[in-house]
């Protein structure tokens, strides 16, 4: 089989979740032949990402570059048409993308254009057509087999295919870079338009790939007091997360929400403060290596998944932690 990985790039490099998709593609059995990486966008950043990818990442043989203003923004309509076009030319057995908001938005649309069922949010690959994905907020794992025609379309959960520094650094034979011929690309570009995207003041590590995550729940009581969580995160070099309740209450922005319908994280260390532990929240963090919970309610469900629990008032515990924890190295 041959696999197409639909990748996202930023600042001249492949985004980390897309590297996980690449890793998943390389781990497909009977996939010795080839993995191609599709990059699209416009401007120098695109070509920088392409040449950077071609020379620094192993396990794929070809970079396909689609250079057009149509792909400057992540709109589903032109992107789905592009993947459809590339699939018609390449006849891939698999198409894989990360379960990022981009992959979730675009890949099912691609699958519909190709008249196949996609398998989304894959956490494990059993064989070339058999995959494991969580259902019911991770309270059950479903193993599904794709029995339809090619291509088999997947989105993968990047926390289940972690990218190590080694897999990124090891040099390989340089992959070839080729341009996608867009002369027959005729998407009606007027149906959807990009208007704007909020920008985040990017302090601290990315939530999806941070080694340590500090999360606050509604018990933080206000946006002002939520700063305690941010202070602790800073001290630990950690990313900040939040429960749905804390986001709904307006303490922090939506993109910090962890859970079934928010971000999925699996850091080395997860510290939850004032988090009750609803199943919808656990769905987003239950694969963390070490979980610490601090809550004044000894019966909070979060303690059932915590490796270390501390029953106490977070407004006393966090300042004490800030005082006693060592500075991050």
């Amino acid at each position: 089989g041959s696999t197409l990985v639909v990748a996202e790039h930023e600042n001249g490099a492949i985004k980390s979740p897309s590297l996980s998709a690449l890793l998943a593609a390389a781990s497909l059995p009977d996939n010795d032949s080839s993995v191609s990486l599709l990059l699209a966008g416009s401007g120098p950043s695109l070509h920088q990402a392409a040449s950077h990818a071609a020379s620094s990442h192993p396990s794929f043989s070809q970079v396909l570059v689609a250079d057009s203003e149509a792909f400057k923004n992540p709109l589903a309509e032109p992107w789905a048409k592009l993947v459809h076009l590339v699939q018609q030319r390449g006849g891939y057995s698999h198409i894989i993308a990360a379960s990022s908001s981009f992959g979730k938005n675009v890949m099912p649309r691609v699958a519909a254009l190709l008249d196949v069922s996609p398998v989304t949010d894959v956490t494990a690959i059993s064989d070339s057509h058999t995959f494991v994905r969580p259902i019911y907020a991770g309270n059950a794992l479903s193993t599904v087999r794709y029995t339809g025609a090619s291509p088999c379309i997947l989105t993968i959960r990047s926390t289940s295919f972690p990218v190590s520094q080694k897999s990124v650094d090891s040099k390989s034979d340089k992959a070839t870079i080729s341009q996608v011929d867009l002369s027959t690309f005729n998407e009606d570009l007027d149906k959807s338009r990009f208007v704007s995207q909020t920008s985040r003041d990017d302090e601290g590590p990315d939530l999806g790939s941070a080694r340590v995550v500090v999360t606050g729940g509604r018990a933080l009581k206000s946006a002002e007091k939520f700063k305690l969580i941010e202070d602790l995160a800073k001290k630990l070099g950690a990313a900040v997360g939040a429960t749905r309740a804390a986001v709904d209450a307006g303490y922090v922005a939506n993109d910090l929400q962890i859970g079934q319908t928010g971000k999925i994280v699996a850091p080395e260390l997860y510290l939850a403060f004032g988090v009750s532990g609803a199943i919808q929240h656990l769905a987003g963090m239950r694969d963390s290596k070490v979980i610490v919970a601090v809550n004044n309610d000894a019966d909070a469900p979060i303690f059932q998944v915590a490796d270390y629990g501390l029953v106490g008032d977070l407004f006393e515990v966090i300042p004490e932690l800030l005082e006693k924890l060592p500075e991050k190295k």
Partner: protein
């Protein structure tokens, strides 16, 4: 303009899921079923658009076994004008949901099709994007705000994405899928529950809509996730720091 809303009957969000011992699925017998929470938000949004005078009618659609009619009645009690029930088996993959919706769209000709972004049972997050692709309509997924311009026939949609909020604008007709913070769905009042009993529900089968159901996926098994081994309760911040340093080796 007419708005079509797809609603799914799922295991209630508060039910603790149990996997069947024979690994064929999860226990759904004698379990409380409800409207998927994201579908409630989709229906609420449609009702608000109608109440703002920007739409004339809200049609709720549900697919699956006969009990889906109960879910449709809930939708009608919330305020949908009429319902459509497509009688189908329990397990209908999103590709077929999308194909059936496409046929219903061709019959009803709505200007807007609103769905929840995902169902909390299979967590697929696919149907909206797929029906948009089949119809060649633009899509605004994971919506946290929708503003309609009736004059220009344009919907401006705020989307919850990984890096924050993205705003896009779509020509109608379009597909929108709803995220959690779009609105707070209303409850059905008793008088409206009574009224809903008289509202019409039309029935279709996939065959009548010329949709052939031939799944290209099969479930091999459904299992319980690995259990985390039970942890310890520490008594002080000092003990916690000591454990994290010397036992877990994470700080």
């Amino acid at each position: 303009m007419k708005i079509m809303v797809a609603i799914k009957r799922v295991v209630d969000y508060a039910v603790k899921i149990r996997v069947k011992p024979d690994k064929t699925g999860v226990v759904t017998q004698n379990v409380k079923m409800s409207m998927n929470p994201f579908c409630e938000i989709a229906l609420e949004e449609a009702l608000r658009i109608r109440e703002a005078g920007l739409a004339s009618e809200v049609v709720a659609v549900s697919m699956g076994p006969s009990q889906c009619v109960d879910t449709l009645r809930t939708g009608l009690a919330m305020g949908a004008d009429r319902g459509i029930h497509v009688e189908a088996g329990d397990l209908l993959y999103p590709l077929y949901v999308a194909k059936i919706l496409k046929k219903l769209v061709e019959i009803e000709k709505p200007g807007l099709l609103i769905l929840g972004k995902q169902a909390i049972d299979d967590d697929c997050n696919q149907a909206g994007q797929m029906v948009a692709g089949l119809l060649n309509w633009p899509q605004g997924t994971f919506a946290s705000k929708v503003v309609l311009d009736k004059e220009k026939q344009v919907a401006t949609v705020d989307r919850e994405v990984d890096d924050g909020i993205e705003t896009i604008s779509l020509n109608l007709p379009a597909v929108i899928t709803t995220d959690l913070r779009l609105n707070q769905p209303r409850y059905a009042t008793l008088p409206n529950i009574m009224k809903a009993k008289k509202k019409p529900i039309k029935k279709f089968t996939p065959e009548e809509l010329s949709v052939e159901i031939k799944p290209d996926l099969e479930i091999v098994e459904v299992t319980e996730p690995p259990k985390r081994k039970s942890g310890v309760i520490v008594s002080s911040v000092d003990e916690l720091i000591d454990k994290l340093k010397h036992e877990a080796n994470v700080i």
